[in-house]
Amino acid sequence: MHRYRFILTRPLQFLPVIFGVSIITFVLVRLIPGDPARVLLGARATPSAIANVRAQFGLDEPIWAQYFYFLQNLLKGEMGKSITYKIDVLPLIATRIEPTLALVFSSVLLSVLIAVPMAALAARNRGRPVDHLVRILSTFGIGFPPFWVALMLILLLAIAFPVLPVSGYGSTLGDKLVHLILPSVTIALSLSTVLMRSLRAAMVEWLKSDVATAARARGMPESIVFWRHVLPNAVAPTINLLAVNIGWLIGGTVVVESVFAIPGMGQLLVRAIFARDYMVVQGVAMVFACATVLVNFLADIATVAADPRVKL
């Protein structure tokens, strides 16, 4: 199966990407005006206290030396200490990965579950009122800011009809699932729109295609034409779109995490940016980068699996 050979070679390309991300983050966060020590010490800061903290976290070293230590630590499997939390970054992040991952996963799953039938409905009734309705609805899905949608969902399903928890994450599996419903719906409302548009366009295209005609010409009923020939062909181009969006989602769950008080990485990251907790920003950025790269990698594999013509 030489088409899958890239699975062996591709990971080599990850290294420069991760390396690049680390350098850019490193420089970028240090370019942001604001001193972590001052933030940490607050209003009662005295110059000597500030100097003390800076020395303690190695912030008084030249930037290249700091980067060198960072890399050195990385080789040891460490990512430095958080200024805010005073513990190593890696265990700090580790506890935050699961909620974000769960959120992304459930949102994507939900989006796909919404997008595929909706796109199918619209494409098979192209130009009819159903099609227009779906398109109008989808515009609403993408037009309203997520934090507003989230709030509306809470007001509706947690206050007016209190069937779901307002916010939080829960500790048992069932509890977590229940808590993930509203946040996932919030994300899915906009993500599914993106997927749906692309899927619908592809489906319309393939419904008109020679492949579909050929299937009809051999007497296949419309449902077989659609599910067996149109859908598999229409899915391939959407995989890439989905991958880009998952990448985007992984790095952008913060708003939803924040509204729903989900203890994920997004919140950790934003807090760290505002507090200039350099090590945490770096660490989270690296984890995000790895996740994104991995998602794209999986998408590549999926693309190859979905379309035998594709070579990578």
């Binding site: 942001i32 548009r197 989270v284």
Partner: protein, 273 residues
């Protein structure tokens, strides 16, 4: 070869353009048609529900929502336009050059694109905005630095296909310069997809703006911008729904206009998103 000439569905295009045109008109006429000064605070008229005095009600400062929504059209159209135009131009040029010349240039650019894509979008946006200070200019710069990637990818993929097309080969055989081939022959045929994408991108840009506002780094107060209005108004959503609803609806309707035009463009140009 099915020469099925794609029929543009004029209704979609007309609806879309009408909506966009209407917003442009509103933006142009805002100072004339707005009943109040959008930043004037009237302590006596705080949190008024919609009435004949304030058609869309007032916010927590007693500012007239209608006037703010009308004036917001100026800012938001500007955001959509500039927030898309720069990434579009930068991405197109970079993507075109990478796709056309290939080799080392392409390899480096592709890695750069990989890096930016792997970068948590928010770190980039927030850091850049934090570095430059919140405000529209920083937002544009951040958008441009992050947003070009999508366009570059789209264009590059197109150019890679087109550069092996017969008419590209024909152009080479006719002694045309490489720049002429790229910019006059290939690019015009390659941009259709990006153009369609830019329409939905415009909506994403508006929403990114709103998200940034939610995180507190949005446009400078007291500027009326829909995303900021929704973000700020959401604390009052239970007692004064009108503060968020009207700017929110404005975004949705504008988004609808953009996506209509995008769809129509897509069909006109025979692009499958």
């Amino acid at each position: 070869m099915s020469a099925a000439v794609v029929k543009p569905r004029p209704a979609t295009l007309v609806t879309g353009l009408t909506i966009l045109g209407l917003f442009v008109l509103i933006a142009l006429l805002a100072p004339v048609i707005a009943p109040y000064d959008p930043i004037f605070q009237d302590a006596a008229a705080r949190l008024q529900p919609p009435s004949f005095v304030h058609l869309f009600g007032t916010d927590n400062f007693g500012r007239d929502i209608l006037s703010r929504v009308l004036h917001g059209a100026r800012i938001d159209l500007q955001i959509a336009l500039i927030g898309v135009a720069f990434p579009f131009v930068i991405g197109t040029v970079i993507g075109a050059l990478a796709g056309f010349f290939g080799g080392l240039v392409d390899a480096i650019l592709m890695r750069l694109i990989d890096i930016i894509l792997a970068f948590p979008f928010l770190v980039l946006m927030l850091s850049i905005i934090a570095i430059l200070g919140p405000g529209l200019t920083s937002f544009y710069i951040a958008m441009a630095l992050v947003g070009w990637v999508s366009y570059a990818r789209l264009i590059r993929a197109q150019i890679l296909v087109l550069k092996n097309s017969d008419y590209a080969m024909a152009a080479v055989s006719l002694g045309f310069s490489r720049m002429r081939i790229l910019f006059r022959h290939l690019l015009p045929n390659a941009v259709a997809g990006s153009l369609v994408f830019s329409m939905s991108d415009a909506v994403l840009v508006l929403l990114s703006g709103a998200a940034i506002s939610y995180l507190g780094l949005g446009v400078q107060p007291p500027l009326a911008e829909w995303g900021v209005m929704v973000a700020e108004g959401q604390s009052f959503v239970t007692q004064a729904w009108w503060i968020t609803l009207f700017p929110g609806l404005s975004i949705v309707v504008l988004a609808f206009g953009f996506s209509m035009v995008g769809d129509a463009l897509g069909e006109l140009m025979g692009v499958n998103e």
